[in-house]
């Protein structure tokens, strides 16, 4: 039977227009659903893959305190991935399907996690700059038009502030140390600054989906707006820390009331997005191995549950 979608679409537009939320069982345009699946799944995958670069340092954290903090932070990222997968599933995709799309490279995750963590200072830079950029992106998403996504973002944002502060505090501690430690912080910040700016996505001119996403209330600000906000927030933090950003064009613009800054290397960005970053292969291989190695646990747990049910019925 062919359903007349015109009145449904009118109701949908009215809900969005009134700033109300769309909930899972509401009618929604197929393109809205697909856009959300792509965006929320990509967000979920980023949280899950994002555990790897920092997880790399858990066994080598310099003290028990740092190790406990790092474990808690990485565990939070796992939780963020789970909140977001559960939001994505309300759009009608199964968890297995999402995992498969990630492992087969059909869905993306944030390009930032394809960079390696070469020194312990990178744990600090990630907390400060990568989680900092994520916060800039995520705070407006708490008001996104799709209910389950917005609610997941609220939970996540509550937890992110710890992530950023522990990273910044780690770097502050190193900056109070030896010359060698200070150099290590600066070198780490140099490597992470540009990739952090790229986390906001391509320039507005090269982001064809932004306009529609903003019309639907999925996105609230353009990539360039958020990037600018992040730069403006970060510069005074860098000054307080005593590090510089590797951008000769970075300077205060009195007229705009904002910092001017240079152009990220967008060729590098697209290379990483296309799978040619330093760690793409390794990240996906690791995720696939974890999934495959866990198969027997998932199967055994199901078999155990089935047996318990059978015993109960006897």
């Amino acid at each position: 039977m062919q359903v007349d979608e015109a009145p449904l679409e009118k109701a949908f537009d009215a809900t969005i227009g009134a700033g109300d939320r769309i909930e899972p069982r509401d009618w929604m345009p197929e393109k809205y659903r697909q856009t959300l699946i792509r965006q929320v799944a990509q967000h979920a995958h980023s949280e899950i893959i994002g555990m790897q670069p920092e997880g790399n340092w858990i066994t080598r954290a310099p003290s028990l305190r740092r190790k406990a903090v790092l474990l808690a932070k990485v565990q939070d990222e796992a939780g963020h991935g789970l909140y977001l997968y559960s939001a994505t599933e309300t759009l009608g995709v199964s968890r297995d399907e999402l995992t498969r799309r990630l492992i087969e490279g059909k869905q993306k995750y944030s390009s930032i996690f394809n960079y390696p963590t070469l020194t312990y200072a990178d744990v600090g830079s990630i907390g400060w700059l990568v989680d900092g950029a994520a916060i800039c992106n995520q705070v407006p998403l708490c008001r996104t038009s799709y209910g389950p996504y917005g609610r997941a973002m609220i939970r996540i944002c509550k937890e992110e502030s710890f992530h950023q502060r522990q990273g910044y505090e780690l770097l502050m501690t190193m900056m109070r140390g030896t010359d060698e430690q200070r150099a290590m912080v600066q070198e780490s910040v140099n490597r992470f600054w540009w990739p952090a700016l790229m986390m906001f996505g391509p320039p507005d001119g090269d982001s064809p989906n932004t306009a529609q996403s903003m019309e639907w209330g999925i996105k609230r600000h353009t990539n360039d707006e958020l990037r600018q906000r992040f730069v403006d927030m970060s510069v005074p933090q860098a000054e307080a820390l005593g590090v510089t950003f590797p951008d000769p064009e970075l300077q205060w613009n009195e007229e705009r009331g904002s910092y001017d800054f240079g152009e990220p290397d967008w060729d590098e960005f697209w290379q990483v997005v296309k799978g040619n970053g330093p760690c793409n292969t390794q990240r996906i291989a690791h995720r696939k191995a974890a999934y495959d190695d866990g198969a027997w646990v998932r199967e055994a747990a199901l078999a155990f549950a089935a047996k318990a049910r059978a015993d109960e019925n006897d």
């Binding site: 909930e23 069982r25 509401d26 009618w27 808690a72 565990q75 939070d76 939780g79 789970l82 909140y83 559960s86 939001a87 599933e89 199964s94 968890r95 297995d96 995992t99 498969r100 492992i103 389950p148 609610r151 997941a152 939970r155 937890e159 696939k288 999934y291 495959d292 198969a295 998932r298 199967e299 747990a301 199901l302 155990f304 549950a305 318990a308």
Partner: protein
């Protein structure tokens, strides 16, 4: 990856954040059975003392009103304004009301 192995069933999670408040829906998760759903819910949804009590319910067991019929379903309460306190005019010199 094994294609057709069954996925763990989905559970909805409800949390009472402190005594005196209702359980509130916080999200969902997959688990092989109810007991493990509770344990997973503790790890996923209460890492910072967000709850004093957790309920988990198989998502498949929830009966929901359909969004399409929301108008007829909720219409009966729409014309019963006398259920609200503001329906009644009480002079302002009457205290405690």
């Amino acid at each position: 990856m094994t294609e057709n192995q069954a996925e763990w069933p989905l559970y909805e999670v409800f949390i009472r954040s402190k005594r005196g408040l209702n359980h509130v829906h916080v999200g969902s998760l997959h688990a092989p059975d109810a007991e493990l759903a509770l344990r997973h819910a503790r790890d996923v949804y209460t890492r910072r003392n967000e709850g004093v009590s957790i309920w988990v319910v198989p998502s498949a067991d929830i009966t929901a009103s359909s969004p399409q019929e929301k108008d007829p379903l909720f219409a009966p309460s729409g014309d019963k304004v006398y259920r609200h306190p503001t329906f009644y005019d009480i002079p302002s010199n009457v205290p405690h009301m």
